[in-house]
Subunit: 319 residues, 2 copies
């Protein structure tokens, strides 16, 4: 089993730099403090997931590539895998929940992936994907419980630190990252070894936050509340991502659906960016005052795949 | 009188590079052809206007700076001037139409400019601004009829060509630019001397298009139709911008309000960007088929300052 490391993250950053331009590092001000925001919503498929998908797929042997890949995802990892697979000429089969946003289903389909729909409430996506992989002899690429995927996501941190250096600024002293399974957060923890790490989750889905506080993995409760963050509805984090974050002394906070919507409207107004709910939680933690920014705080704006009617409704509720 | 030139545009690009990061160069596909899009909506104040404003203000003498600047604008030039003035510690007074989008009024005010409202239908903004400048001994900074402003806007073309070179691509062979008074279009014509130039305007406001066809400046007709492109409602272009574009053999096309809305929805879906109507006309010209892309086509996504209710309504009409 590969052990994700800073040098692996750096290699991943080099690999990603060959296929995707750096995403912009934007700034905003909160109570007189400048905060840096990494606009991963501007990746070609609209989320940071392209990073981990690319690093995993480009690391496959020719024999593995020929047998294809299988993934499960509510949409952003699906599109990342589909994007990377298309570019490398690898066949991709992806299990997606039937209630995934239409934008994410369409985005995955248009990239040429074979989509298998499942019912989020009654079926196990892990089992479906494992069965598909076994049946086809394909490589299963989990969305976060995978060392290459963690390293790949971490490339966002390398890129941000490089951009901060170009502005004459030292690396981040605080990283505030959105967290579903913890792939991005743990990758960024490796990428930014001197930063305090805070993960952000939607209220009721804050299993990483509670796991970090408890020192052991605690799954999401039996009846989690509804959330607009389809990208962060992970019921249990992995030993891999939890272990990295726990070793770093990371902590977590939970934000409300209202705080998330406020952050989406802030991003519309301030950055003219379309950010999806799951991509706005880190920003929400800062804007709500739940996380107080440090001198060099980096927040993730991790994705922008949201259906137009949902986005319009969120804008409407701000009037 | 300064004569705008390619070397002036290059100097402007150097000056702008010291205060603003390059905006992303995005790509999209139309009928198998890759097109480059310059996302100027991601400038700190949401439009390319920061470029010309910065280059003009940074070129003022200490004495001129001390006396302040005056501008008139429906909003993006206003915010560009206010942004540059704040950064340089110059007092800015800006005449804005009372029906300017709330986002633009608020954006200008928050940057510390002194705003004087006028009625677009009954008052002349040129006269109001000239009177304000005379009264205060301030420098009038027109939104397009100014050699520094033209050179500054052209820096977007230098930046885009540099980004294309980094991708192993020659400079653009076709530039499709939105056009109000022609500042951006004429600046980019200077910046990209080997490209064919096409300007795009809203239907009924296509005075540059008709002027280029006629060989003389033709103003907008007496009762122009309503348009969502508040940024492009210029009734008469300038000899300066017209002269540069005419000398280059530029042509123009007009796009409909429906085509503009389609382009805004395309940018939402494809780039996860918020683009205002006036910023989407060049994209609309490509998507509608009115302009056929060349091998290396560059289109401007020139601004993203739009009120949330207007943006939500445009998304809603796409359902």
């Amino acid at each position: 089993m590969r052990n994700p490391s800073l040098s692996g993250v750096r290699d991943a950053a080099d690999a990603v730099a060959r296929i995707a331009l750096p995403t912009p590092l934007l700034t905003f001000e909160v109570g007189g403090t400048i905060v840096f925001a990494k606009a991963e919503s501007l990746q070609p498929m609209g989320a940071f997931k392209l990073r981990g998908a690319w690093w995993r797929l480009v690391s496959l042997s020719p024999k593995e590539r020929a047998r294809g890949v299988v993934a499960f995802s509510s949409g952003n990892h699906a599109q990342g895998i589909a994007w990377a697979a298309k570019r490398l000429g690898i066949a991709a089969t992806i299990a997606m929940p039937s209630d995934a946003p239409a934008a994410k289903l369409a985005g995955t389909r248009v990239l040429g992936a074979d989509i298998v729909l499942f019912d989020r409430a009654t079926e196990s996506r892990e089992e479906i994907a494992a069965a598909l992989a076994a049946e086809r002899g394909a490589t299963l690429v989990p969305s976060f419980d995978d060392p290459w995927v963690v390293e790949g996501q971490g490339s966002a941190g390398i890129e941000a630190a490089t951009q901060m250096a170009a502005l004459g600024c030292a690396p981040p002293d605080l990283v505030v990252a959105c967290c579903g399974g913890g792939g991005l957060a743990s990758g960024m923890a490796l990428a930014c070894p001197d930063a305090r790490m805070i993960v952000v989750e939607p209220e009721g889905w804050d299993d990483m936050t509670r796991s970090l506080a408890a020192g052991v993995i605690v799954p999401v409760g039996p009846n989690p509340p509804p959330t607009a963050c389809d990208a962060l509805m992970t019921k249990r984090v992995a030993e891999l991502t939890f272990g990295i974050l726990r070793a770093r002394g990371a902590t977590g906070v939970a934000v409300s659906e209202t705080e998330i919507e406020d952050a989406i409207r802030f991003a519309f107004r301030t950055f003219r960016l379309v950010i999806e709910p799951g991509g706005a939680v880190a920003l929400a933690a800062i804007l709500s005052g739940k996380v107080v920014p440090g001198e060099r705080t980096l927040v993730t704006l991790s994705g922008g795949n949201i259906d137009p009617d949902q986005f319009a409704a969120i804008l409407g509720r701000g009037q």
